[in-house]
Symmetry: C2
Subunit: 522 residues, 2 copies
């Protein structure tokens, strides 16, 4: 099993169908296959081969898409690096992953140059040239185009020896600490790519917009999904509402994915942009808990939302909020609340359990008892790269421990209440920061919100809210607190409110550890 077979077959069957669209670039599947082949051949010519790591630091540009095929086609392992990391962290990853080569998008040339210096490693550095980006500098020994041109036309690309050969190396987002490396195998990549099709009943020739970073769990395996169903990858450098809606309209986009903050940005876009949506449009969201109000707004503007949940450790989403027939015709806010739950095991996941992490006893399906989410199945990693202590911590009795706290509803659906590290314990009571945020997102003037624990002498901890307002709105802390008290148990309402922008990871997660530090000082 390997997703590379998808590319070869699609290039044969649909040679002239558009594979990649990016500004003036429109490449067919035959052209894309040829370029991936040349990428593999070019790397091989530079001495890269089976088992070597090839890193890439790039936005969602065509070269990033090609790397998902071309790098494994020479037997190497693709390590997509989070573009928002600093030089220190990128250097750490280049070192830890033992990169032999790195492909660099000009937007990130400076930080990568420093990172390579920090890593102290000697590696092949390839500059990607991107007509749509001004600036950056050449830091490598050759350009991507030159690399391709150097490929031997008689090169024979390399198939994995078996299912378990590595295809990529992904680091976790580092939301709770240092990123950990997860090795993806051809088998898991194949299964997840196909599971994406089944989940969405995705038709052939889907037009997929790249609002989800490809560096995140290999864009949840969607590059390979698109090869499997002969879709079209619509690339874009930066996710801005105007660009996104333009492309949706122009390219007749049918599917896209993104973190809840991306959905929130789109949901709050001006109406004239939203009107560009004409065709049926489906979006998947994961990476953090989507507030129900955001789901509701997206659906109101004609985007059918599928909420999924997973981790880097599970090849991206492995839990899905499958809609039930009985939900049809429910009022939109009720439906959105049901959809805001994380759901049930997807096709690739065998088993999902919410259990007491001490006793491993499943929690009752009562919607209130909190336990940790445990997972088991084909899409769960075997362990972290060169990190036995973290690996040991992550497994318990054959189950993978997600570190996410959740309840199980009477219908069996799982709902995440918090990360273990984010839950707020006030006067002995658990307060789910997600629940409080959900209420805050319902306030018409609030754009974004995050709630963290603030140390408190009397209660142990109390909730502290960090809030960003919509353009031109004003709001006082008192009003925010009053709104919360009206909409939830009083003890859950934040005691403090801080206004201003929120620190985020580039995978769309709010960095609560930073906010917790700030909260101490409030």
């Amino acid at each position: 099993l390997t997703p590379l077979a998808f590319l070869r077959k699609t290039a044969l069957v649909y040679p002239d169908h558009p594979a990649v669209v990016y500004h003036a670039v429109r490449r067919t599947w035959a052209e894309t296959y040829a370029r991936c082949f040349m990428l593999a051949g070019g790397l091989a010519r530079c001495g890269i081969g089976r088992g070597d790591t090839v890193a890439i630091v790039a936005a969602n540009i065509p070269e990033m898409f090609e790397a998902h095929f071309g790098v494994p086609m020479c037997g190497a392992v693709l390590n997509t690096i989070n573009t928002r990391l600093d030089a220190e962290m990128i250097g750490f990853i280049l070192n830890h992953g033992e990169a032999k080569a790195v492909l660099v998008d000009p937007e990130f040339s400076e930080v990568v140059e420093r990172a390579i210096r920090i890593s102290g490693r000697d590696m092949l550095v390839i500059d990607i040239e991107d007509i749509s980006f001004e600036g950056g500098k050449r830091i490598g020994t050759m350009t991507y185009t030159e690399l391709l041109a150097g490929s031997d036309p008689d090169y024979e690309w390399v198939m994995p020896r078996d299912d378990w050969d590595p295809i990529s190396l992904n680091y976790t987002s580092g939301t709770t600490g240092n990123p950990k490396g997860v090795v993806y195998h051809h088998r898991g990549a194949h299964l997840n790519a196909v599971s994406n099709i089944a989940t969405w009943a995705m038709p052939h020739h889907a037009v997929y917009l790249w609002t989800l970073p490809m560096f995140h769990c290999n864009g949840w395996c969607f590059p390979w999904t698109l090869a499997a169903n002969a879709g079209t990858a619509v690339c874009l450098r930066a996710v801005r509402a105007d660009v996104v809606f333009d492309l949706i309209g122009h390219e007749k986009v049918t599917h896209f994915c993104g973190a809840p903050i991306v959905m929130n940005m789109l949901a709050n876009a001006p109406d004239h942009l939203k009107h560009r949506i004409r065709n049926p449009l489906k979006a998947m969201t994961a990476g953090a808990a989507p507030p129900a109000s955001v789901i509701e707004k997206m659906e109101a503007m004609g985007v059918e939302i599928t909420h999924v949940y997973g981790l880097t450790e599970t090849y991206g989403p492995s839990v899905i909020c499958m809609p039930q027939r009985g939900w049809q015709g429910l009022p939109p806010d009720r439906l959105a609340r049901l959809k805001a739950r994380q759901g049930v095991a997807n096709m690739a996941l065998d088993d999902l359990m919410v259990a007491d992490p001490e006793t491993m006893q499943p929690v009752p399906e009562d919607g209130t008892t909190i336990g940790e989410i445990f997972m088991r199945g084909n899409c769960v990693m075997k362990g972290y790269l060169k990190n036995p202590s973290a690996t040991e911590e992550a497994f318990r009795g054959g189950w993978f421990a997600s570190g996410d706290l959740a309840v199980r509803h009477p219908d069996g659906y799982v709902e995440i209440k918090d990360r273990s590290k984010d839950i707020i314990i006030s006067g002995g009571e658990n307060i789910s920061s997600i629940e409080v945020e959900d209420v805050l997102y319902r306030h018409p003037d609030i754009m974004e919100a995050a709630v963290v624990a603030r140390p408190d002498e009397r209660w142990g901890e109390t909730p502290c809210a960090f809030v960003t307002l919509k353009d031109g709105r004003t709001l006082g802390a008192d009003e925010v607190i009053a709104f919360c008290r009206e909409n939830m148990a009083h003890y859950k309402a934040p005691r403090h409110v801080v206004f201003g922008p929120l620190p985020k990871t580039s995978t769309g997660k709010i960095q609560k550890f930073q906010l917790r530090e700030r909260a101490r000082e409030v």
Copy 2:
């Protein structure tokens, strides 16, 4: 990887969704899971376990569907036996497959009773009771219901130890000789079940009508597909046009499969029946080459046809005639001719080649050079059960030799011209029997047609046509020959025409070896 996981998950997520429909029987997924569990427990209680063969001789009734899960859930291997075989052949299979138990539909109790006697084996015999069938007799020691009732409620059902554990044993149709046994693994069953979803972009809750015998390649793996996407299996004992159209209308069927002769029967049904089709309806056809005119008629009545091709040896279809964008808007007859080609490798097949069987050199993509179809990939069997000579013959240089002759068109699509054994060689020229049949099917008075070689002193062989007319029509041999000469090269036109019903296998294939014998005597 195992399709059994689909059942468990669907029973959890959609417990109340209808799984099986048959006359008054309407069972949900929770009920079906419970019954499959009891079937496994009941068999275990009778001493059946890992690696044992459990045979079943049954029509497409609910018990047959359940056996696809319940039998492997006790670790056993399901051997679905062709219901139209005679006692001799069933006895041979029971023996060759080493059946420890057999489940018997009352419709086949007599022939199975004789078969067991012929096999000389001692085995557990279970009588299925079917309210919708009158007749038959009890030949076993207990009924299916008693078997289920005997199950231990604390029984823990058995998961395969790994992907490669056997799940079922299927015998080829015996069109060209004795049936050969093919062992299916959990892995292949899983992959094919999912590939069915991707091929059709099959939505959740598809309503699937069982016009394809479940004994044939495990109904091409569709029982497991339905578990994966929480569909509904609409069962039926016999495929008759009135019943089929009734069920399509009543149960709001969305998908069905069948051999070309089933499609032909439906295409020639009275118009008042056809009008029961209201919803979008998709059908897959395989098992023999569908005449273009049959595809055209089906599509004209609102059924979207997907033509697929495969063998028992490849878990059923592994080649698919994927429609191309450019085909949209073509005249129906032209479209039907394109769709009558077998196509390209599906998701589960890695490689498809048409090559000279001597040199293994691929034929040019010219639409005229004939070669044999070779296949390679995850869905190809490893070998025949206890038949090393047939296994050796079936593989050449890592490729599986299909025994089917085909051309490759300039667009890469494969078109079968004949089985190796059926091709007619006249005056040194190859004549494709399928091509001649295709012309015959275009004649308005002809219902069914088959063309075989007849020994001829001068030409070596000449084509001899066997023809069935539509009800109430009359036609002379001369007229048939004249029609053929008008529509194809003269040397390809049949020299002899015989009228009357055609001998068929129960997998919907015309038994040409019988016709060849008859042709000698003409």
